[in-house]
């Protein structure tokens, strides 16, 4: 059995390098994380009509998501219950049924087996088709974002997201008609462990200035000052970082929402016009985050940048490789010209050929590959930045870190990683719901800081 206390040291904020390499750890992740968490599947905007389908993956499992004839969304494993062949080989489309290429078995859009060739003559009519449906997967949507879960005992999606949903609502609800994703997804291979980009998006404001120095120098704008870490900036005043129950987390760089877009007039105007609506609907704390640049991961493998507006899933392919799928986030009520420009700009920065994306890949590959060495793997990785400079906040749920550059969300991500990898079931995880944030010990951080600030203001 894998000793998770050995792999993740909460007190020291370190993780064993084995978590990026070992096959046995990966196998357990497929069971305990990808087999039990809600995983992003699609957006309802891509499944509008009855019969619309997409194929995707949940961990290493191939799945189909489809709008059934009754209007509901269904998901099932893309493997014929006869001999296991795929029943759908297209990326997307519209269909009344899924037909296996091997022997011609036919399934409906609810996954039920509806036809078996030569059933009367060769099965002598003795096959009970009702027991041969494609294995179904729980499907739930949050604000149009569709997730699937293999575990019947898992909390529902809203509870899995928890306080993270409160933050997501900022742009999913606050700004108008809601958000949608533009596809088809870009797809590429990256030879890294799936957690490397997941942790990077959950809380790595630190790498931005250095890794992306070349791109930021060319693009200039709000984030241009970060290039090469040359600017002397009061980082504790420029944004926050948050981790919530179940390992979700994000960082916000204040007022930098459109920072990476070269052509941004439409988006900037939209943010400006809708910010008062966010304040009205959801209150000032969220309105203040709304025009920031967000880096985020929904545990375990769904990451996005709001502002840059790229939305990604890291599909694992063994411990040392992932498939990167990327869509673009737009708001439904933006005009078409603005939507198109956002798509273009998001892909130019974080698509397959993105000017910023290309900086990250190499770091992620090497951070994984170096662990091939057994003596390298005996060491640990460090995520202590900002430890102690974080805590509960009067206005923002979760644990809030002092700056967008810090590793609060790394610590939250690996705290939950350790918990879910150790837990026998969701019941064990639920039992700890009230104590999950005990490891963030400075409970008065924000109380003290805000009091000092108020006092400073009075003086």
């Amino acid at each position: 059995m894998i000793d998770m206390n050995e792999l993740v040291d909460i007190e020291k904020s370190t993780q064993s390098k084995r978590v990026f390499w070992d096959q046995e750890i990966y196998d357990q992740e497929l069971e305990r994380i990808f087999g039990r968490c809600w995983l992003f599947l699609s957006h309802e905007s891509q499944l509008k009509n009855k019969g619309d389908f997409i194929t995707t993956k949940m961990g290493e499992d191939s799945v189909i998501v489809v709008r059934h004839t009754d209007g509901s969304l269904k998901a099932f494993i893309n493997s014929c219950t006869h001999r296991g062949n795929s029943v759908c080989t297209a990326d997307s489309g519209n269909t009344r049924s899924f037909v296996c290429n091997y022997h011609g078995w036919v399934y409906g859009t609810d996954g039920a087996l509806v036809d078996v060739p030569l059933k009367e003559k060769c099965y002598h009519d003795e096959i009970d088709m009702t027991t041969m449906s494609l294995p179904s997967i729980r499907v739930e949507s949050y604000r149009g974002f569709v997730f699937g879960c293999f575990d019947d005992n898992a909390p529902n999606l809203v509870d899995f997201l928890g306080d993270w949903g409160w933050y997501l609502d900022t742009w999913m609800v606050g700004a108008g008609e809601g958000a949608e994703l533009i596809g088809p997804p870009l797809k590429s291979i990256l030879k890294c462990n799936w957690k490397v980009p997941a942790e990077n998006f959950v809380g790595d404001g630190y790498h931005v200035g250095w890794t992306h120095a070349s791109a930021l120098e060319m693009l200039g704008g709000e984030l241009g000052g970060l290039a090469g870490n040359r600017a002397n900036m009061p980082f504790d005043e420029l944004g926050i970082q948050v981790t919530t129950r179940h390992g979700h987390g994000f960082g916000v760089i204040d007022h930098a929402g459109v920072g990476i877009h070269e052509k941004r007039d439409g988006f900037a105007k939209f943010l400006q016009e809708t910010q008062p609506k966010v304040a009205e609907k959801l209150g000032q704390p969220r309105a203040e985050l709304y025009d920031g640049h967000w880096n985020c991961t929904t545990f375990p493998n769904c990451s996005f940048l709001y502002g840059t507006n790229i939305f990604k899933v890291w599909h694992p392919r063994g411990p040392h490789e992932i498939e990167v799928w990327s869509w673009v986030i737009v708001h439904k009520d933006m005009d078409d010209a603005t939507k198109k420009e956002i798509v273009k700009q998001a892909v130019r920065s974080f698509g397959t050929a993105g000017t910023l994306e290309s900086d990250d890949g190499d770091n992620m590959v090497n951070s994984t590959r170096n662990n091939r060495g057994p003596h390298t793997r005996k060491n640990t990785m460090d995520s202590r930045m900002g430890a102690g400079y974080e805590g509960p906040h009067p206005e923002y749920p979760g644990i809030v870190g002092s700056s967008f550059i810090g590793e609060t969300s790394y610590r939250g991500f690996y705290r939950f990683y350790q918990e879910i990898m150790s837990a026998e079931s969701w019941d064990e995880i639920r039992a700890k719901d009230s104590q999950w944030d005990d490891c963030f010990t400075n409970k008065d951080y924000w109380k003290d800081r805000l009091a000092a600030k108020a006092q400073g203001g009075e003086e």
Binding site: T89, A90, D91, S92, G93, N94, I182, G183, P184, P185, L186, K187, S188, I189, L190, K191, T211, A213, S214, A215, E217, M218, L219, A227, G228, E262, E323, W327, V328, K340, V343, K344, V347, R348, G351, T352, A353, G354, T355, E357, S358, D359, G361, D362, M364, V365
Partner: protein, 177 residues
Amino acid sequence: MHNTEAKERVSMQLHYDLSQHYYQEASLLQDGEYEAWFETMVAKDIHYWMPVVERRYAKDKRPAPTPDDMAIYNDDYDEMKQRVGRLATGAVWMEDPMSSVRYLITNIQAFHTAKEDEFVVLSNFATIRHRGQLERSEHVGGRQDLVRRVGGGFQLARRKVTLDARVTEDKNLYIFF
């Protein structure tokens, strides 16, 4: 904008001149002479486009992608200039030491268009990148160009690059095709 109608095939001499131009272009790109390539061989009205092509069933009647849809590259002149400029900042850490990129350009077919000085040129490519000790990636596809005669040479006015792979097997695409 990429649907310029191709008419009859060009003469042997013109085909030779265009082929030489394509080989010169490949030389500049594989030598990392991005600025020289961009300044001499790319027209100001360039549209440089690599659409995303989904795997769809034959019966699927949805239209092929347009430049309004999701694309891997979808650049005008200024946007391309930024890509070139980024590579010249000296801060692209991963390209030091540099990759070796080799371009194999084949199956060149050139056609006249309604305009005397513009040609539609089709070609196939394989780009092979070696990096570090053992890293190797390969991209295979086709290009549909609109090439314009300018002075004694040619400039690229449209390029539609079709990658054959649905999933790009590389950590990034910062190179030009």
